[in-house]
Symmetry: C2
Subunit: 140 residues, 2 copies
Amino acid sequence: MKKEVAIEKPLKLIDRSEIALVGSNGDNGYPNIKAMLKMRNEGLRKVWFSTNTSSMRVAQFAKDPRACIYFVNSSEYEGLMLVGGIAIHQDAETKRLLWKEGFERYYPLGVNDPDYCVLCFTSKWANYYHELENATFDVE
Amino acid sequence: MKKEVAIEKPLKLIDRSEIALVGSNGDNGYPNIKAMLKMRNEGLRKVWFSTNTSSMRVAQFAKDPRACIYFVNSSEYEGLMLVGGIAIHQDAETKRLLWKEGFERYYPLGVNDPDYCVLCFTSKWANYYHELENATFDVE
């Protein structure tokens, strides 16, 4: 498979996805999954999420940053897995950058609510498939 | 939350889902995710998938059966995570039970193709959420 094919189609999939499935290492060595709203992405390299500081996912990533995120278009048998690490950001600048109207529902104290934080996922490698096509590649 | 509420809504979600997101323990301690067609389920307790014996997922579950599976209805902010174990079945009877028309595309030798096998997931516990409602419970 040519590199431009491997990058272009997964980029389109991530760009049009509203949610990502986020994989973490849960209790007793079991993988965990949660759907999260994709707030922003920088190609395949970085993906941002916002969540409650008190949430289970934040506790898990504070303990073990190893993660994967997954985008799926089930009607076309198309999927993209990105494997990498998640960092927890609680600084005012990053929180302001990701803030959206309506977030008050989840974070009543607004952008400075200590229970609002940002997760930034950074990819190391990717696996993309579409029907019987399948490619694994590093993300730079 | 009453138990009937906790069971009924996740049951409806799993029953109408065509795909599940399957979480496994991948290389170097990273969680992995893959969308798979849900072939059959027995309430929240058991979920069956069919896949290639030579696939990455089968290699991972042969090494470490710890798994989670996830069902999502993103338009309603609704999700169900089941955490448990996956067993690999290669006996003729189970393979015949799960066989569907059209599988020849993936398993050219038919129901006895050694590259066709069945994965059976058994739940231990569940987490279900719908908007701001959230419940964790054991699956018996």
